[in-house]
């Protein structure tokens, strides 16, 4: 498969037997159209956004060294064994495509976004993208430019915030009897 013919092609990576093609966010619609019409990926299976805020922020596990030796108050951390690969931007949006043929071919088109940066909608390429994009807009706050009906899908219309973001508080409902009052 000639991945570098995809418009906006940045890089291609093979991992765990899966192909990930990174594409410039502004050209994702062209890339999807090309994948559908030229490369034969008839079906859009899924759109999923991921928030990489504070990715790898727990650091490597082990003793925390200070100038005077070990800090006895924080003897060790529950960190990672190795630092993970640094991510280009805060959000990734992944498009899982499927070619219905024998053997089936799957590819993940991926683009990287900063907070508030829009990405072109692919509803005009695959109608099924409608709810997938609305869901990612609702829960992750990704703005899809050109979506005909971009409003909340899962949460209430007047909900504030995007629950799947990493900075969304867990159990963040206001508590009436807290000490602060």
């Amino acid at each position: 498969m000639s991945w570098d013919s995809i418009p906006g092609f940045v890089s291609v990576k093979e991992a765990f037997g899966e192909t990930t093609v990174t594409v410039e966010p502004a050209r994702i619609r062209d890339a999807c159209l090309h994948a559908r019409d030229e490369l034969g990926f008839q079906m859009l299976v899924d759109i999923v956004a991921t928030d990489y805020l504070n990715w790898g922020g727990r650091g490597v596990s082990g003793y925390i060294a200070t100038a005077s030796g070990r800090d006895l108050n924080f003897p060790s951390t529950q960190g990672l064994q190795t630092l993970p690969e640094v991510k280009a931007r805060r959000f990734s949006v992944a498009y899982h495509l499927l070619a219905l043929r024998q053997p089936p071919v799957r590819v993940r088109l991926k683009c990287w976004l900063d907070d508030g940066e829009p990405v072109p909608s692919v509803v005009s390429v695959w109608p099924t993208a409608d709810w997938h994009e609305r869901e990612q807009f609702d829960l992750m706050g990704i703005r899809f430019d050109g979506h005909p009906n971009l409003k909340r899908l899962i949460m209430d219309d007047d909900w504030e915030g995007h629950p799947l973001r990493k900075d969304y508080p867990i159990g963040g409902e206001p508590v009436r009897f807290s000490e602060a009052e």
């Binding site: 765990f16 991921t50 727990r58 529950q78 992944a94 899982h96 993940r108 949460m155 969304y168």
Partner: protein
């Protein structure tokens, strides 16, 4: 089995039949909202009503905002989210080990398949080899789960169209499946029997005989269902030619599973992208060509028969695997055998570490898809290399199936809407997650 007649192959594989109707019926500009036609806009005859979210025939809490012109559905907007439970967010806070309980509560009718998809995704990240016995048992339980799910579809769909007795017959056989689940796992539903690495426990001795008698009984039950429904004039009248979805529209709308196969597309991940033991099993993939409610019902009926055959084959295989290990021997991931905890310090440490901190999963992202009773059930995982997932996302076939509602209600009556929603077989827990 009604495989569509061979046609000149003008289209790419695997479409076998694609002339249900000319052009497309997907509404514009929003593919999931059917707008009121121009001639009726602002008319006093058009009545806007809420169908659901707590109407018994919406299979849960689906809300359809309908525009009715008399009995005719002229506009539709599906509203979901009433059963949103934040599973994806919750799973980010739990260790991989504890997460296994959540996926089955997402699609609470086809629970084994959801659990399987998550466990397979974690195993893919870990690059973990699963013993043969566990793979065969997983296949068997997933097929029992498919039968269970299709029985609920058949019972409730028939009930909604007035065939009350069908409901009782289907739930009679459903009890037999649940009894089998209970025997193996201790739970009737939400079994948490699949572990990362294999199965939670060995298969109990009495299971083989009881499952064998179920395999012998089930084809007779299916004959009963066919006798009750398939020559029933009311059932045929209510299902044939209703809610038609063409092959091209089904693919454009991302449909999978029975909905796609009823629209004439010969596509089944069990055969085309074999996972578990499906590559070594002999089974047929039922495909029907009209894309209506009746064909979706027929696909599921045939699938139950095929699933019974698969269960039979798995059972034969498992009977030869008695005494074999049921879970991988990797102490960094799998809990040590209980009896070792009393004698081995190493085992005690491993047990403690897995239960408290959880095992670590290498950094990376994977997408794993399996064929659930409702279609392609996908699980997207991102791992940071720690004991908890960074991101969990489920590709829910029910979510996608409901996107097709606005296309299927092309020129239908409100009574047929009930048959259409039933035939898409969406589980609201799966849709809203």
């Amino acid at each position: 089995m009604a495989i569509a007649p061979e046609r000149p192959r003008t289209r790419a594989w695997p479409v076998v039949h694609a002339d249900q109707y000319e052009g497309t019926r997907i509404p514009r500009p929003v593919p999931t909202v059917r707008p009121v036609p121009e001639r009726l806009r602002g008319s006093d005859d058009v009545l806007r009503i809420n169908f659901g979210p707590n109407h018994p025939s919406t299979h849960g809490v689906l809300r359809l905002v309908l525009d009715l012109d008399g009995e005719q559905v002229v506009g539709l907007d599906a509203v979901i989210g009433y059963l949103h439970t934040g599973f994806e967010k919750t799973m980010e806070q739990k260790t991989w080990w504890k997460c296994v309980t959540y996926p089955e509560r997402i699609d609470y009718v086809g629970f084994q398949n959801n659990e399987l998809t998550f466990v397979l995704a974690v195993e893919k990240l870990l690059d973990l080899e699963v013993p043969e016995k566990a793979t065969w048992m997983r296949t068997l339980l997933c097929e029992l789960s498919r039968i269970h799910s299709h029985l609920i579809f058949l019972g409730t769909s028939a009930l909604e169209l007035g065939a009350v007795s069908m409901f009782w017959y289907c739930f009679r056989e459903r009890e037999l499946v649940l009894d089998l689940f209970e025997m193996v796992t201790g739970q009737r539903m939400h079994t948490r029997y699949f572990q990362v690495g294999g199965l939670a426990e060995d298969i109990p001795e009495g299971f083989y005989a009881q499952c064998r008698s179920f395999v012998e009984w089930m084809p007779k039950a299916l004959d009963d269902y066919l006798a009750l429904l398939d020559r029933n004039a009311i059932w045929l009248e209510r299902t044939k030619g209703i809610g038609v979805l063409s092959a091209d529209d089904a693919i454009a709308l991302g449909q999978t599973g029975p909905v796609l196969r009823a629209s004439g597309v010969d596509w089944d991940l069990r055969r085309d992208e074999p996972h578990l033991s499906y590559g070594q099993l002999d089974f047929r993939v039922p495909v029907y060509a009209n894309g209506d409610v009746y064909d979706r019902y027929r696909v599921r009926m045939d699938e139950m028969r095929e699933s019974t055959r698969i269960v039979d084959q798995c059972l034969r295989r498992l009977e030869r695997l008695k005494g074999h290990p049921w879970i991988a021997d990797d102490r960094k991931v799998v809990l040590p055998p209980r009896e070792e905890l009393h004698t081995s310090m190493e085992s005690l440490i491993h047990h403690f570490k897995i239960v408290t901190e959880g095992f670590r999963v290498p950094e990376g992202e994977v997408y794993v898809a399996t064929e659930s009773p409702r279609g392609e059930q996908g699980c997207y995982l991102v791992s940071e290399g720690g004991p908890k997932p960074w991101r969990v996302h489920f590709r829910a076939p029910s979510f996608v199936a409901l996107e097709a509602t606005a296309t299927c209600v092309h020129e239908t009556l409100v009574a047929d809407l009930i048959a259409i929603v039933g035939s898409l077989d969406a589980v609201m827990g799966d849709t809203d997650r």
